[in-house]
Amino acid sequence: MSLVELRDVVKRYGQNTVLNGVSLSVEKGEIIAIIGRSGSGKSTMLRCINGLEPIQGGTVAFDGTIVNDRATDLRKLRQHVGIVFQSFNLFPHLSVEKNITLAPKVVKGVPQAEARRLAESVLQKVGLAEKIDAYPDQLSGGQQQRVAIARSLAMQPQLMLFDEITSALDPELVGEVLKVLEEMARDGMTMMLVTHEIGFARRVADRVVFMHEGRIWEHGAAAETLGKPRTPELETFLNAVLH
């Protein structure tokens, strides 16, 4: 059984159809890069997987649980699916430690001392151990995004979703965030990332999904799909982002 299974997913905002029959399965340990023009439905697809967006048709399943079933406890599901956003969304009133330990303490009942050790260990992974007592506004964008990744990791998710996490960063800060992703990839984390970093996608992703007009227009092994696009839309897109 696939870890993530989307079947004919339809998502509409009023009259506007954002996802128009999307099907995709993701196996444990896979790294999927999702590319496409803005408005093609990439972020929406990602947000359907942890139930942030309700869908109007089809099914989304995670580890056998139907996400869009009303009876599904989304809180439980989200403990296993981490998401990192373009705009970091750290809690500005909490220190880095509290940002990371809030959910483990409140949701899982992890005691304070253990939670602090957990924060230390995930911060180590993103290379920010010394920032444990800092506040978000004292950190650079790249550091904030790495804390956001650490915050998600602290819940020990089985799947990580990344929604254009380098798009809001100054160019010189993109590298430090991508490096963290590469390390997570080496650790075997299952990841789905919406990205404009085509070079990164080619290097790290197993598969690339190209979205266009609310559909998966083309998808396949990363190097092949990016190297030899089969559709003119993907070719146009790649030309536009690579030049």
């Binding site: 942030l52 969304n89 009133h93 959910a103 949701v107 506040y135 998600s152």
Partner: protein
């Protein structure tokens, strides 16, 4: 009999301030409880609860406080329920302050970006935990200045309770004027006393506004 406006009268006016303060305290406490409920209804994810909150706010903001005082004091006694002025005032002021505080606090809760709720939800926190740990702590900082501003309005609006028999600051002023026939001196004194209550609060609020701007 007409007598002089003396220092003793000033002391009486000062003494009457205790009712002004007591009414303000009751109104703020009752209004705070009602207001918190209303604010939470207004940000609920369940639409009928939001409508209920909106209905309440529009109904109360669209009717005069004086009318509520009359309803609870005179209205209930006509249908055979005797209500003490304290109960009537507590009820009327809680309803009134609750609507306004509810709107102020709703605004503050909604001023926190949706993405903060989303970040909490994505970590597995439920609605109540998102409110408690993420939204309310941030909204509280925003809420302090306008809440103090409303408190100042409330202090002045307690004078309306005179119509149901409270001898608070303004009513005491009227009574003093009736016996001394010195409306100018008396009401200037009343105004100064209100100012002494309200001015420190507005100053404090402005200071908070400034300090919370930079502080986390």
């Amino acid at each position: 009999m007409i007598r002089e406006f003396t220092f003793t009268d000033v002391l009486y006016l000062i003494a009457a301030m205790r009712w002004t303060l007591a009414l303000t305290a009751i109104a703020f406490l009752g209004g705070g409880i009602v207001g918190l409920t209303v604010a939470l209804l207004r940000v609920s994810t369940f639409a009928p609860l939001r409508w209920l909150g909106a209905l309440y706010v529009h109904a109360v903001q669209g009717t005069p406080l004086l009318a509520w005082l009359f309803v609870f004091f005179f209205g209930l006694s006509i249908v055979g329920i005797e209500v003490s002025p304290w109960i009537a005032a507590a009820a009327a002021y809680s309803i009134y302050a609750g609507a306004f505080l509810g709107e102020i606090w709703r605004g503050c809760l909604q001023a926190i970006p949706r993405t903060q709720w989303e970040a909490g939800a994505s970590l597995g926190l439920g609605f109540a935990a998102q409110l408690r740990y993420i939204i309310v702590p941030q909204a509280t900082r925003l809420a302090i200045p306008p809440t103090v501003g409303f408190l100042v309005q409330l202090i002045k609006n307690t004078s309306l309770a005179a119509v149901i028999g409270f001898i608070e600051l303004t009513r005491e002023g009227q009574l003093t004027t009736a016996t001394t026939f010195r409306p100018f001196s008396v009401y200037i004194t009343v105004a100064v006393l209100y100012f002494l209550l309200c001015f420190p609060l507005t100053q404090w609020s402005r200071r908070l506004e400034r300090s919370l701007h930079v502080a986390r």
